[in-house]
């Protein structure tokens, strides 16, 4: 029998509902694993002292025959930028973000579905980075887990939590998912309300889950979707898990896959290229049709995400800039926040004009295809001391390289999923699947097909200790 730590969220929830396992035992299992394994990974910053109490209450409800939600009794880890009623929220910083002890919209929806908050996961300070120090990658502890949701990726991959929440402004869910070998879903902008999440860049920030299966990502996203009166960007429509289940069961036959050959397949490592091309070939062999295309305007997209994210971050931290509090930030984050003052208003608006143009290009693409498939990242996990990388003979800063393939879907607000599709040099590789606005079912359908064809998410050796 699969041990509890290795079971999916849907399996754990079914076990609690049926009484074959208890929420209290699950909390004990994951807490014990964190105590045993997280000394090296440092993926958690805090454990919830109320988790055992909440789990016992969940077990009492099952014993009493109460109606329970789809996540009843399942422990879930929360990124440190989501407000929680029972744990402080620090956004990975010594500079207090001033978040009250109350649940963010997404966490309140998880709890309403029965989830038990296990603890808070480590993040790159104020979500402004791709490395999440001092957290380590469970596949190689000399390497980064990615960021900014690095603690969530490391914790889920190592079996320290069955699922975790992340946030994604330029790839911060999908990057750690790719580097740690988990599933990560950035839903359509507006599908999950963000009130109670420490902002980074208002028009780019997305909430979403990191899990070990595509079905789990669908379930958590469906639970967290819907109205959020305190987030003006929220669309309000819920995601139907039943519709996702139907889509995931359809398989790849007849699925129209788009492959954007420029940008997404340029300057990527041989290992990533071979693994993702093998995935596309497998989808085609299983009956999907492949349509190749180019979007030349992607060649200048980095300037747009830089302009919007830097300017937004400087605006959000304006009081901390004026009062000198940013001097207490880590050096890399302080530099990025201060650089935001160098972005002119005219450049910001040019970036927003570019964003609309790019949206028009991809709207045309999605008239022809159901999903767009690419690598999630151009490389596998890099060493913690690396600040630049050389790919195909091109030297590039980590800051420019890491999010090159993920940020377009933050600019566009489109749903984008990272699914493990194999290994290169002993490290996980993720394939990215993007879809039309609010077409999460098509994205999840393709993701489930990849999972079926290429095998489930890998587990690092450390998880089996």
């Amino acid at each position: 029998m699969t041990p509890a730590w290795a079971q999916s969220v849907t399996e754990l929830a079914a076990g609690v509902r049926s009484g074959t396992q208890t929420s209290a035992a699950l909390v004990d299992t994951f807490t014990s694993r964190i105590e045993a394994l997280d000394g090296t990974l440092t993926s958690f910053v805090a454990l919830n002292p109320k988790a055992a109490y909440d789990a016992a209450a969940a077990d009492d409800a099952v014993a009493a025959g109460a109606s329970v939600g789809p996540l009843h009794g399942v422990p879930i880890a929360i990124k440190d930028n989501y407000a929680t009623a029972d744990l402080p929220t620090r956004a990975g910083s010594v500079v207090d973000p001033g978040v009250p002890l109350s649940d963010s919209n997404a966490v309140s929806k998880l709890r309403a579905a029965g989830a038990v908050v296990l603890g808070k996961t480590r993040m790159h300070e104020y979500a402004w980075g791709m490395e999440t120090p001092p957290c380590r990658n469970p596949f190689d502890t000399e390497r980064v887990p990615g960021g900014s949701s690095g603690g969530s990726g490391a914790a889920v991959a190592a079996g320290l939590a069955p699922a975790a929440l992340g946030s994604d402004t330029g790839g911060s869910i999908r990057m750690p998912a790719s580097l740690c070998g988990t599933v990560g879903l950035k839903p359509t902008f507006g599908l999950i309300g963000r009130s109670g999440i420490v902002p980074h860049s208002w028009s780019l920030d997305h909430a979403g889950p990191l899990t070990m299966s595509v079905a789990d990502a669908a379930l958590l996203t469906a639970v967290m979707s819907g109205p959020d009166p305190d987030d003006p960007a929220t669309d309000g429509r819920p995601l139907s898990y039943a519709a996702c289940e139907t889509a995931m069961a359809m398989g790849p036959k007849g699925l129209r896959i788009g492959v954007c050959r420029n940008h997404f397949f340029e300057t990527i490592t041989d290992g990533v290229a071979e693994t993702v091309e093998a995935t596309i070939d497998a989808l085609a062999a299983a009956g999907a049709t492949v349509h190749e295309f180019n979007v030349p305007e992607l060649s200048v997209g980095l300037g747009a995400i830089f302009a919007i994210e830097l300017a937004s971050s400087a605006a959000y931290h304006d009081e901390r800039l004026r009062t000198g509090k940013v001097a207490s930030f880590e050096d890399d984050v302080r530099l990025l926040v201060e650089m935001g003052r160098f972005v002119s208003a005219a450049d910001y608006l040019q970036a927003e004009r570019y964003r609309r143009l790019l949206g028009e290009r991809f709207a045309e693409v999605f008239e022809e295809v159901d999903v767009v498939v690419s690598p999630t990242m151009p490389l596998t996990a890099w060493r913690t001391d690396e600040r630049s990388v050389e790919i195909q003979g091109v030297s590039e800063s980590i800051l420019a390289a890491a999010w090159r393939l993920t940020y377009p879907f933050n600019l566009l607000g489109l749903p984008a999923l990272s699914v493990p599709c194999g290994m290169a040099e002993g490290l996980p590789v993720g394939v990215q699947i993007a879809g039309a606005p609010f077409d999460e079912p098509a994205v999840l359908r393709a993701g489930a097909a990849v999972e079926s064809l290429m095998g489930p998410a890998p587990r690092p050796q450390i998880a089996h200790i």
Binding site: S203, G303, A307, G324, E338, R341, E352, L399
Partner: protein, 61 residues
């Protein structure tokens, strides 16, 4: 600190109250980002409007 009474003072232009050497470091680090932004600016955006467009709030229905 720099002389904030001079309109062309670099710290005044970007409204960052930093010592000159720190400001120079930030400006040097920004060079890579400026190059990326300049590349975007070179793209012909035609008559494209920004993605963020103002809408009045509190509309009566």
């Amino acid at each position: 600190m720099s002389d904030t009474n001079t309109p062309l003072d670099p710290a005044t232009l970007v409204s960052l109250d930093l010592p000159p050497e720190r400001l120079a470091d930030v400006a040097a680090a920004f060079a890579e980002i400026r190059a990326a932004i300049d590349a975007m600016r070179a793209l012909d955006l035609g008559e494209t409007h920004p993605a963020v467009v103002y809408k009045p709030i509190g509309e009566r229905r």
